[in-house]
């Protein structure tokens, strides 16, 4: 059974900005492990832009893993589709080769935020799998922890690119990055609070607008 991981990031940039920055994501200060990047296919299908990029990365592994994988580089295939009408960018990324030892598949859906105009919500799903007899559990656990740790770095790197492309945001973003993690924690609490506030506000609103019953 693959290990599954999910996380949500909010970017303080419009969907159009995120979509444009997506193609210029590398290099960034957190992407030193990404060595090369090539578009290897691209076409417009209907209203959508469908692309494939091939990335070559260094692959830092713990000593114990060297018995399974004896390469310093790994290739990553990144499929993507951009739907400008519905403002959805989907990326689907997986490692090529060594998939039996450890496969990491990541899907990210970037959409315009429904409740925060000018913001973009990225929902990241990841599946970590291994088919090495007797070791798959340990390998999955390692891959899972590494992925979790890197998630933050990925968002940070992407934000760096966004800030350098759209510097008007600069003064806002420090605040926004700090707020983003707190935001997630507070999201549910805020939802409840806003429901409560709405409920409480209704009679007040009504009392201020006597024409409405």
């Amino acid at each position: 059974m693959p290990r599954y991981f999910e996380s949500t990031t909010v970017f303080n940039f419009s969907w159009e900005q995120v979509a444009q920055a997506f193609w210029r994501r590398y290099p960034n200060p957190n992407s030193k492990h990404v060595l090369t990047e090539d578009t290897i296919s691209r076409e417009v299908r209907g209203d959508q832009l469908v692309s494939k990029r091939l990335l070559r990365k260094t692959n830092a592994l713990p000593k114990w893993a060297e018995r399974f994988i004896n390469t310093k580089h790994v290739y990553i295939m990144e499929e993507s589709s951009v739907d400008p009408k519905n403002k959805v960018l989907v990326t689907y990324t997986r490692n090529l080769g060594f998939a039996k030892v450890m496969s990491v598949t990541e899907k990210v859906v970037y959409r315009e935020s429904e409740n925060q105009p000018g913001h973009t919500v990225a929902v990241r799903s990841a599946w970590i799998d291994s088919q090495v007899r007797g070791f798959s559990k340990a390998i999955c656990a390692f891959g899972y922890e590494r992925f979790k740790k890197n998630c933050h770095k990925m968002a940070g790197g992407f934000n760096h690119v966004l800030m350098s492309m759209y510097p008007v945001h600069q003064h806002l973003t420090n605040h926004a990055t700090a707020a983003a993690s707190a935001k997630n924690k507070l999201k549910d609490a805020a939802k409840n609070a806003s429901e409560l506030a709405k409920a409480k506000a209704a009679p007040i609103y009504a009392s201020l607008h006597p024409n409405q019953s």
Binding site: W23, L35, T39, I40, D47, S80, R94, G97, K107, W127
Partner: protein, 80 residues
């Protein structure tokens, strides 16, 4: 970013910059005609496909489409 093929770096740069302009100024504005960068893409592709062969990359594996197909991984116990 560099290309996998050193010889392709300049072609890649030219194509990428054309693409970024096309993406921002045409595609995102609803114009799906992608002929603008097609000639640059073609020469870049010829170069990069050769470099991929040199690096013994499995081209068949690269051609596989998973996104948007039923081969995509599924979210476990989807809330229903």
């Amino acid at each position: 970013m560099n290309s996998i093929g050193e010889a392709c770096n300049d072609l890649k740069k030219e194509y990428d910059s054309c693409f970024n302009t096309w993406f921002s100024e045409h595609f995102l504005r609803g114009n799906t005609n992608d002929s603008m960068c097609a000639p640059l893409f073609k020469v870049y592709q010829d170069c990069v496909k050769k470099a991929m062969k040199d690096h013994q990359i499995d081209l068949k594996e690269c051609e596989k489409d998973l996104l948007g197909t039923d081969q995509e991984r599924k979210v476990p116990n989807a809330k229903s």
